[in-house]
């Protein structure tokens, strides 16, 4: 409830700003309409002749602008590979990844990434980290950075180094760093898997708040069934390696959502369906892992 208040409150002072400031602010809060992701017949093979590993095999997935999609799969199923191809870190071996209809060509600030482990720069203070993206694009907006500190509850830690923060705070700071760049698409690779259960719930609610406020597309990778359903518009279940789309579950729970929803009948029904879908794949993934060992 508190968070709602603070996020709404920040529109008030801006109404008194000049036109250009208003425009800037609107472009931040309102959707620009972009942010579609189209994965077409994508295959990713690691290694070379004789020692090849097919991580993803002929995968198709279309994500609408402003849609929240979670990709649920057993460990080692290639779900991180999918994200790395959308981020532009890797090129697909076959097929293509289109963002806003254009083929992905390397990383871009319009596609923000949060990694599984905290990747705040340890040698920069929290402020320097959050300012990094805008600074790189010569577009530092101090008032916006201050709003982000407020929204993410980071006040008082401006000059701290990341290792001085708790795990949850580091994750909020990383989210602030990403939001400072105002990305159309947020790519998140199991970002909360290293957090304790309580902090994880709070972070999930924080992320939902952020997403509901400013419409962005989210591609969220996880192996946690409950998390996948709680957050998503659609849950994409992946098979064990080589990864393919096994199942797509539409999550018709109403928004805004909160953690209490996990006890409703509809949630349980969806959770059961996702669990069943992923169960066999998890078994296969485990056999694969044992086979390799």
């Amino acid at each position: 409830m508190n968070e709602r208040d603070t996020t709404n409150a920040r529109t008030a002072p801006d109404e008194q700003h000049t036109d250009s400031a208003d425009e800037k602010f609107r472009s931040w809060t309102e959707s620009s309409g972009t942010g579609t992701v189209n994965i077409k017949d994508m295959t990713k093979v690691y290694g070379t002749d004789g020692d090849e590993l097919t991580a993803v095999d002929s995968m198709d997935l279309h994500i609408e602008a402003e849609e929240f999609v979670t990709v649920l799969g057993p460990s080692g199923c290639g779900k991180s590979t999918v994200m790395e191809c959308v981020a532009g870190y890797l090129d697909p071996t076959e097929g293509e990844v289109l963002v806003n209809g254009e083929p992905v060509d390397g990383p871009d600030p319009s596609r923000g990434v949060v990694f599984q482990e905290n990747r705040l720069f340890p040698w920069k203070t929290v402020t320097e980290n959050v300012r990094f993206g805008p600074q790189m694009r010569d577009a530092v907006d101090q008032s916006r950075i201050e709003r982000l500190f407020d929204q993410m509850g980071l006040e008082g830690f401006e000059d701290s180094y990341p290792h001085e923060l708790s795990g949850g705070m580091q994750q909020r700071a990383e989210l602030a760093r990403l939001l400072a760049n105002d990305p159309d698409i947020m790519l998140m690779d199991e970002p909360f898997s290293g957090l304790d259960a309580m902090t994880k719930e709070l972070m999930q609610e924080k992320l939902l708040d952020v997403w509901e406020d400013d419409d962005r597309t989210v591609l969220f990778i996880t192996h946690d069934v409950e998390e996948a359903i709680l957050l998503a518009d659609r849950v994409v279940v992946m098979t064990a390696r080589p990864g393919q789309v096994k199942d797509v579950i539409d999550v018709d729970l109403e928004r805004p959502r909160d953690i209490d929803m996990v006890t409703t009948d509809r949630f349980n029904e969806l959770q059961r369906r996702a669990s069943e879908s992923i169960h066999d794949e998890a078994e296969r993934a485990m056999e694969q892992a044992e086979g390799r060992a």
Binding site: Y89, W123, E164
Partner: protein, 287 residues
């Protein structure tokens, strides 16, 4: 009742029975003990120690040297010798750092440059720096800057000694940067130049400081070795000179001075590290 808990309790009791200032006293005791063993060896002629010098004579002369008396008849003070050696170390290590850090960063981050530079440099690495001295004496002249003569051969040997630890540590540091830091920077809009400046450089800094610390240590080792052979002024020269004149107290004084300055310069590098990496010195978890 296990033996473990027994010995633990005995250890505790033993610890309690000692009064708190014992650590300083024990440290002092180790120094006094060392001097005592030296004196006993000298007094009773263990091995050929009776030909060596008494610690008492040495300490008296050391005090004299610190007061500014020349070490040898009509010679220079210990301060002048120390300044010469320290300057060689500083300049030699400085040159090594200026060359080794950029080269190491390039080799550590670029496969192409690694293939071009690494094999040749790796072939030179196992050669002891002092083995370069004969070539250095032929190739490098002694520069005359006014009244000060600067023998480049000794400087070159220090340079070689300091270069490799700095070089190899920089390479290792640059190679082992977590890929995701680079990716994070790229996804935030950093150009490759900015990735270098904001990720590669700070992430490699701890290894560079380690390399510098080792480089300075090797600088002192090599400067003494080179001065033993090339002459003075310098602390290595004074050690050799003391030996030639059968004035062993001078040998010991030279050794003590090298030890003290070596220790001081490694503290200096440590300070530099803290200054350059404020993030490594702040205390952990506030929350």
């Amino acid at each position: 009742m296990s033996t473990g808990s027994m010995s633990e309790r005995i250890g505790d009791r033993f610890g309690e029975s000692l009064p708190s200032p014992t650590r300083g006293v024990r440290k002092l005791l180790s120094l006094v003990g060392f001097v005592a063993v030296w004196w006993l060896c000298y007094r009773f002629g263990v091995l050929n120690f009776d030909h060596f010098v008494s610690p008492v004579t040495t300490l008296v002369e050391f005090a004299g040297a610190l007061a500014g008396q020349p070490l040898t008849e009509g010679g220079d003070t210990i301060y002048l010798h120390a300044v010469y050696s320290a300057a060689r170390v500083a300049i030699g290590v400085g040159f090594a750092a200026v060359l080794a850090i950029p080269t190491g960063l390039v080799v550590g981050t670029s496969q192409r440059w690694e293939n071009l530079l690494y094999p040749a440099l790796e072939a030179f690495r196992p050669i002891p720096p002092i083995a370069w001295l004969p070539i250095a004496i032929i190739v490098f002249p002694t520069l005359a800057l006014g009244s000060i003569s600067v023998p480049l051969p000794a400087l070159f040997v220090v340079f070689v000694g300091a270069f490799f630890p700095i070089f190899t540590n920089t390479i290792e540091g640059a190679r082992n940067i977590e890929t995701e830091y680079r990716r994070a920077a790229e996804s935030l809009g950093a150009s490759s130049g900015n990735v270098f400046r904001h990720v590669v450089l700070p992430a490699t800094l701890p290894s560079i400081i380690t390399g510098l610390s080792l480089g300075v240590g090797l600088g002192w080792i090599t400067v003494v070795a080179a001065e033993l052979l090339t002459g003075g002024p310098g602390l290595g020269y004074i050690i050799m000179q003391g030996s030639r004149l059968l004035q062993n107290q001078i040998v010991v004084i030279g050794m003590l001075a090298v030890g003290a300055l070596g220790y001081a310069s490694s503290l200096l590098v440590e300070r530099l590290g803290h200054w350059l990496m404020p993030w490594s010195t702040t205390e952990g978890n506030r929350e």
